[in-house]
């Protein structure tokens, strides 16, 4: 059906397209290294936030310790790089596979626990691991971490494009993986069914155990890619990647952007992360930036509790009540079936009379 694929008539898709193009052309717009660095970090963190969203937003398995996957993959890539001197193109995939494996291990308790219990157990894992890392500091570098990893690429712009390409592909894969309307993969629909009502899903013959573990592995894998990229980009894998604040940060980004949407977490990261970095450059910025950030968060959540993208989306798009095709909010009639999108005052009054 032609109208499913159209881009230019739907404001949300136009924004997404323009955002993608801007990211690709970004090095042409500015040559400033600091700005480029901020955008690269934002891209890496958006992959990390999207991986959280796959697990928590779509599958409903609350993860409050997502830094575990990020940190484990960062450490794994770092160890492979320093001890075996593998190339970056091997360390990051192997690191992410380690992340996926850890995801499976963490997923095992998820089969017995749910909701807040699961959140608290997942919260525990990165803290336990960072305790172990501090204890065996000869092997893991302790407080300072492992440093001196090889670069992603020699110059900053190539590194930027490597990061952007990997991040975009991964986010696209996760978008397809979680898309409930997809005709190719059923996973999106199944994961959503598990989130809404696990018992009913199981009663309808869905192997919930398999799909829950799959969601954990996928989430761990992509968080792992983000972790590997991060470690190679800053050339350090330190215990800060396992901190509680880093696990909570991803939840902040994703919920601020809009949970369970994939584009929400991306928007959340690309709004909040540069904001925190930019405030730094102003006088007193370093001291007050987290105060400002927390105020912004509190206010935005009070008025947009479902996230900023969901709020904006409901303002600029509406679904045709007859054929469920998405239209721009400005249209009077549906672009697919020509049914009126909403009634005028007179029509409303007339309908009441009939």
């Amino acid at each position: 059906m032609w109208f499913r694929k159209s881009v230019l008539v739907i404001p949300g898709r136009v924004i997404a397209l323009m955002f993608g193009i801007t990211l690709l052309l970004f090095p042409l717009l500015t040559a400033d290294e600091a700005t480029l660095r901020i955008v690269t970090f934002a891209a890496i963190f958006s992959l990390y936030a999207v991986s959280w969203d796959t697990l928590t937003g779509y599958t409903g398995q609350l993860s409050l310790g997502h830094a575990l996957f990020f940190g484990v993959a960062a450490y794994a890539s770092a160890l492979l790089d320093l001890h075996l001197e593998l190339s970056v193109w091997l360390t990051i995939p192997i690191g992410s596979c380690v992340g996926a494996f850890i995801g499976l291990i963490v997923g095992l308790p998820a089969l017995r626990l749910r909701g807040i219990y699961l959140g608290l157990v997942t919260l525990a894992f990165p803290i336990i691991l960072s305790g172990i890392i501090f204890y065996f500091s000869d092997f893991t570098g302790g407080e300072a971490g492992l440093y001196g990893l090889s670069r992603l690429a020699e110059d900053k712009i190539t590194a930027y494009y490597i990061v952007i390409a990997i991040v975009m592909c991964s986010i696209f894969i996760m978008f397809k993986f979680t898309d409930a309307k997809s005709r190719i993969l059923r996973t999106g629909l199944l994961l959503r069914a598990i989130r809404e009502d696990e018992m009913t899903a199981r009663a309808s013959g869905i192997d919930t155990i398999k799909y829950k573990l799959l969601a954990f592995a996928m989430s761990g894998f992509f968080a792992g890619i983000a972790g590997g990229l991060y470690a190679h980009y800053i050339r350090v894998a330190g215990p800060s990647t396992l901190e509680l604040t880093f696990s909570i940060q991803v939840v902040l980004w994703a919920i601020f952007g809009g949970m369970g949407t994939i584009y929400g977490p991306v928007a959340g990261v690309f709004i909040l992360y540069p904001l925190t970095e930019i405030i730094r450059f102003y006088p007193y910025g370093e001291e007050v930036r987290f105060i400002l950030l927390s105020l912004i968060l509190i206010l935005s959540l009070l008025f947009m509790p479902e996230g900023i993208t969901v709020w904006v989306r409901d303002k600029i798009e509406q679904e045709c009540t007859r054929c469920k095709v998405i239209n721009a909010a400005t249209r009077r009639t549906c672009r697919a079936c020509r049914a009126p999108m909403y009634l005028t005052k007179e029509e409303n009054a007339n309908q009441g009379k009939e």
Binding site: P109, R112, L113, R114, G115, I116, Y117, L120, V121, L123, A124, F125, I127, I128, S130, G131, I132, F134, Y135, D197, M199, L244, T245, I248, V251, L252, I255, F256, M259, E287, V288, F290, I291, L293, S294, L295, L297, I298, L301, L302, P305, E306
Partner: protein, 290 residues
Amino acid sequence: MFVSILINGLVSGAVYAILAIGFSLIFGVAKIMNMAHTAFYMLTAFLILGAITFLDMPLPLAAMASIIVAGLLGVVCYKLCFDRIKVHETAVMIISVAIAMLFEETILLTFGAQYQRIPPFVEGYFELGGVSVLNQHFFTAGASIATLVGVWLLLSKTKLGKAIRAVDQDREIANVMGINVTKTSMQVMGISVILAGVAGAVTAPTIMINPLMWTNPLVIVLSAVVLGGLGSIKGSAIAAFILGYAETLVVFIVPDGSFLRGAVSLTAMVLVLLIRPEGLFGVAFEEERL
């Protein structure tokens, strides 16, 4: 060494128990996962420091005033933030994280990041089984246990306590039975934050206070609450004592084990949850639908 472990474990266990009870009360009654709970504990310690340095208040008065101010602040947070978006549970949790961050950064801005000390409520020490124990530790343990008994009396003997337990068990039915659920939730928020404040006030003289001191207790409190069984107040208090002793044991037995302190109690929590997912004292619901 045995006596030191006993006393230190008792002190940290009792303080964690107060914090865990406050946390599990507000979670049970209002379904708020209040990540800012231990931030109120930190805030009270700094309010006391502020009251004695800037306002020259005597210490007991400063402690009282700070606990009350923290409690009022908790109610204000509830009214302004939690109550408005209570339908979105994850948003509530994130807003509490944001509140905790706001407190931390505000304190950081006013008092700085360095470690500071608050004078003890009672001076001196005495010998017990060959080790000298600070009187302040006894005061902390005594005050904490008195608070625990107070909470128990409040919950079991008063009308408010009955209302709290009723709302905790079933919101809808409590509402139908004529209990004002919104008002009870607000009162519980006040009580819960006051408990966090008491914990902060009695611990502050025994440790060095710092704006970041809320994260470690938060982790312990979360694990105590899960270990005891979410929703079981007795369970979370007992679990807090278990974790307090576990932590003290690790610090005393494993040399340079302070890094493993959090890790050990959390491992205990994960193991218990894997064996008995409903916690030590929780009730297992027959495939409960959330």
